[in-house]
């Protein structure tokens, strides 16, 4: 007899694959592949395959503990933990005001948990609620919502195979979202032309017909040059621009003045390649743009994303099958956490906090008069901790010490806090500084809905019992709310989802009853009970008030900064076997054996100049700090640039704290540093 199989959502990246767990005697024994699932036809990347090692890992946090001033751990009971935490939080609120408490939500927990968490934070009185979308896709939310009306992927991933031309810019999805590559390959086999823009040679660039190896940080220049070439040749879609967009007259003069020959020198790509890319993109019947953190994590991240949107609008490649803009999200619920309003500037459903009327109507559902506005983002919170304004931080399953830029400063800030509460599954680097560490249940041990990068909301049921004393995040947040006197009872995930149905119109028809029966989930916007979901956005009209999309001009020339002679630009990114801060994957032997140590990739010519040999221990000096890494010599990077995966605590110690003015994302991809062999 076959053992019972329960289908759950993969806990890693934003692709939202599903797989079955074979459960025997209350323990997950094996993984069962779900070949009918629309995201990847049952395919799983190495991380998904090793998900079972994660569940039964010996390092898991199983009991709540308190750390005393000497750093010793004391195991405590849940009641004691929650009571002390809530007392301290209330104390800080009465002493310093509610603004002195910061809340960090997580893109790893379900929609319900994020919703409840931001509700708790806002009713508590603190406007400082944020999560790690700030560090990856805040520019997408900002730029795409102002251009199109909503900050999400326009088409489902599967739709990529209908594209005739795919422009991949700043994304290494073959390593970060391996299942996406299946659809890109299918598109290629069907005759699509693939253009990849990446300063590195990666497995993704392998599938491209044309690889534009630009200098890091010049994506905006390239996009503008492509648009200029399209205009020059008259390949733009005039009908589309006239009937469906506005604001083109502001963009046009900027594009007309672009000197493509000069740009080609600035970005270090032959002129012919830019022209080919522009022609192929504009001429095909359906073109798609895939972009990711290579575009967003810049000082002008928002402008770069806006340029991607402009390019799609200019050629009218949007709102059809195979034509769209695909921002690939990093974590399994980063889209959902943003939808649920775990961002300082948005309430659930992307209601800007400044919009008084809509804010009041949401808040009235929570039986509140009003809530505070003007919250701080993750990186700003760290600054404010240093200035003493924020005294307490409640972190839900994140590892800011590794994931935030300028690690040393973050470390200094976190150790200054009066109260740092961390809720996580593994003892991460941040847990070493936390005053209270609460063990959370893992993904298969709690139920909830997750929204993947293509806006697909899927229900992941509870199939196992939590280990030790770990509890589902919803239970912890609910209980904390009770101790804080915010609400009376702890809601179930289904109850929270029903409340979300009321508060967030996009999720209006995604009721627990409908979700539970569907393995493939529902794609928002789904406003009503019998709405089938909308896989392709903007078919008829854009989500802005007048139904038109808007061009946001970006003058790339003002950002073109010359680089110094002996400084390298450091690119950070992922490798296939690791995931984000690595707190999970570095523990799994099946994965970490492929990339056990931090390696920094350097071009052979640079290495020769500096006398670095492969396998040498080198020191990479950033603006503030220096870290050691093992040198790997390969022409996969350009001359003058370095690559380092950010799964290790060292990498983000080098990244700067400069923020994008609108989305306030740190410019992770702009780090300047020097490299030398260790000891010299």
């Amino acid at each position: 007899m076959r053992d019972p199989i329960s289908s759950v959502v993969c806990p890693y990246c934003g692709a939202g694959c599903r797989f079955g767990l074979v459960i025997k005697d209350g323990r997950a024994r094996d993984i069962c592949y779900d070949s009918d699932h629309p995201v990847a036809q049952g395919a799983l990347c190495p991380k998904g395959n090793s998900a079972l090692d994660l569940l039964y890992h010996p390092d898991r946090l199983l009991f709540p503990y308190r750390r005393d001033s000497h750093g010793r751990r004391h195991r405590i009971s849940w009641d004691e933990a929650l009571k002390t935490i809530s007392t301290k939080l209330l104390q800080i609120r009465s002493d310093f005001g509610p603004e002195a408490v910061g809340f960090l939500a997580s893109a790893k927990v379900s929609n319900e948990e994020n919703y409840l968490f931001q509700k708790l934070a806002r009713i508590f009185g603190s406007p400082n609620i944020d999560h790690c979308a700030r560090l990856c896709h805040a520019p997408s939310i900002v730029a795409l919502s102002r251009s199109f009306g909503s900050g999400a992927m326009t088409n489902p991933i599967k739709d990529l195979e209908n594209a005739r031309c795919i422009l991949i810019i700043g994304s290494n999805f073959a390593e970060n979202h391996p299942v996406v590559s299946r659809w890109v390959w299918n598109a290629r086999d069907r005759g699509a032309y693939i253009i990849s823009v990446d300063p590195r040679v990666t497995p993704t660039t392998k599938m491209a017909h044309l690889h534009l190896m630009i200098r890091p940080g010049t994506d905006g220049l390239l996009l503008n040059a492509m648009m200029a070439q399209i205009l020059r040749e008259g390949l733009e879609n005039r009908d589309f621009i006239r009937s469906r967009t506005e604001g083109f007259q502001e963009l046009e003069p900027i594009l007309r003045s672009v000197n493509i020959e000069k740009v080609s020198k600035q970005i270090g790509v032959p002129l012919g390649d830019i022209i080919t890319a522009a022609r192929r993109y504009a001429n095909s019947s359906a073109s798609s743009i895939i972009y990711c953190m290579g575009v967003t994590q810049h000082r002008s991240g928002t402008d770069f994303v806006a340029s991607c949107a402009n390019l799609a609008l200019l050629c009218g490649h949007i709102g059809r099958s195979g034509a769209g803009v695909f921002p690939l999200r990093g974590q399994n619920n980063v889209q959902g956490a943003s939808d649920m309003g775990a961002l300082s500037e948005f309430l659930p459903g992307y209601v800007p906090v400044g919009d008084v009327e809509r804010r009041r109507s949401i808040v009235s559902l929570w039986n509140q008069k009003d809530i505070p506005v003007g919250g701080l983002t993750i990186t700003e919170m760290v600054d404010e901790i240093l200035s003493g304004k924020i005294r307490a931080l409640f972190v839900l399953g994140e590892n800011p010490l590794v994931s935030d830029p300028s690690g040393a400063e973050t470390e200094r800030a976190l150790s200054r806090l009066d109260l740092l509460v961390l809720e996580d599954i593994f003892p991460t680097e941040t847990a070493e500084l936390a005053h209270f560490v609460l063990p959370a249940a893992m993904w298969a041990e709690k139920s909830g809905s997750y929204t993947n990068t293509e806006r697909r909301v899927q229900w992941s049921p509870k199939v196992l019992d939590p280990q030790g004393e770990s509890k589902p995040d919803l239970w912890i947040i609910g209980n904390l709310g009770r101790w804080l006197g915010i609400w009376e009872s702890i809601p179930t995930p289904e109850e929270v989802l029903r409340e979300i149905n009321k508060v967030v119109p996009l999720y209006g028809g995604i009721t627990p009853e409908r979700l539970l029966g569907r393995r493939e989930g529902l794609i928002w916007p789904c406003p009503e009970e019998n709405h089938p979901g909308s896989p392709i956005l903007y078919v008829e009209r854009f989500n802005r008030e007048n139904g038109l999309a808007k061009f946001y001009p970006y003058d790339a020339d003002r950002d073109a900064t010359p680089t110094e002679e002996d400084t390298f630009s450091l690119i950070t990114g992922r490798v296939v076997v690791h995931y984000n801060s690595g707190s999970i994957t570095r523990r799994i032997e099946a994965l970490s054996r492929y990339e056990p140590k931090l390696e920094v990739t350097i071009h052979p010519k640079d290495a020769e100049k500096l006398g670095i040999r492969a396998g040498d221990l080198v020191t990479v000096r950033g603006e503030r700090e220096a870290v050691d890494a093992i040198a790997k010599i390969s022409s996969q990077v350009r001359e003058g640039s370095l690559f380092m995966p950010f799964h290790f605590p060292e990498a983000n110690r080098l990244t700067p704290r400069d923020l994008d003015p609108l989305a306030r994302i740190p410019s992770f991809k702009d780090a300047k540093c020097k490299i030398s062999t260790k000891g010299t």
């Binding site: 076959r2 094996d30 993984i31 069962c32 592949y33 070949s35 990847a40 049952g42 395919a43 799983l44 990347c45 190495p46 998904g48 395959n49 090793s50 079972l52 073959a174 390593e175 391996p178 299942v179 590559s181 299946r182 390959w185 299918n186 086999d189 069907r190 005759g191 497995p203 993704t204 392998k206 599938m207 296939v576 076997v577 099946a590 994965l591 492929y594």
Partner: protein, 152 residues
């Protein structure tokens, strides 16, 4: 036999993500039968296999197009390892009574497992490992060329 499923690699598609290696090790108790280095390499289940020709004990046989080792016949002598032109038969050293013993193992097409077919093909994110009818695979290749011709 003519229409049975068989492994069909699409080497150009491989993105070197190690998913197959991790999945294979998970299903075969740590003894992975697939190695990725730019392209996946696993037993191709030849139709006239040299390993069967070389094995003096008849410990290898073809079951529905899949070459499997019969565990009770195998002496772990290592002759088939040498005879395989692809190096697809693996040797792993295991501990037995304090001494290291080489164990010979190879892809069994997940013969005894309830997945329908091999896990590497199921899990491959980019579709580089296919498990399909030979005829279909060849026709799909021609179709691909045809579409390229149509695109011009």
């Amino acid at each position: 036999m003519g229409s049975s499923l068989r492994i069909f690699l699409r080497p150009e598609r491989c993105i070197n993500c190690y998913a197959c290696e991790v999945a294979c090790e998970k299903t075969h108790e740590g003894m992975g039968n697939i190695k990725v280095q730019g392209v996946p390499l696993v037993c191709l289940h030849c139709e006239v296999p040299p390993c069967i020709t070389s094995c003096y004990r008849g410990a290898l046989e073809i079951k529905e197009g899949i070459v499997v080792i019969r565990k009770d016949y195998c002496t772990n002598c290592g002759i088939c390892v040498l005879s395989c032109p692809f190096g697809a038969i693996m040797v792993t050293e295991v501990e037995r009574d304090g001494k290291k013993i080489p164990r010979i193992h190879k892809c069994d097409g997940c013969w005894e497992r309830p997945y329908g077919f091999a896990v590497c093909a199921l899990t491959c994110p980019s579709g580089a490992i296919g498990w399909e009818r030979f005829e279909d695979a060849v026709v799909s290749k021609r179709e691909k060329v045809y579409r390229l011709y149509l695109r011009g």
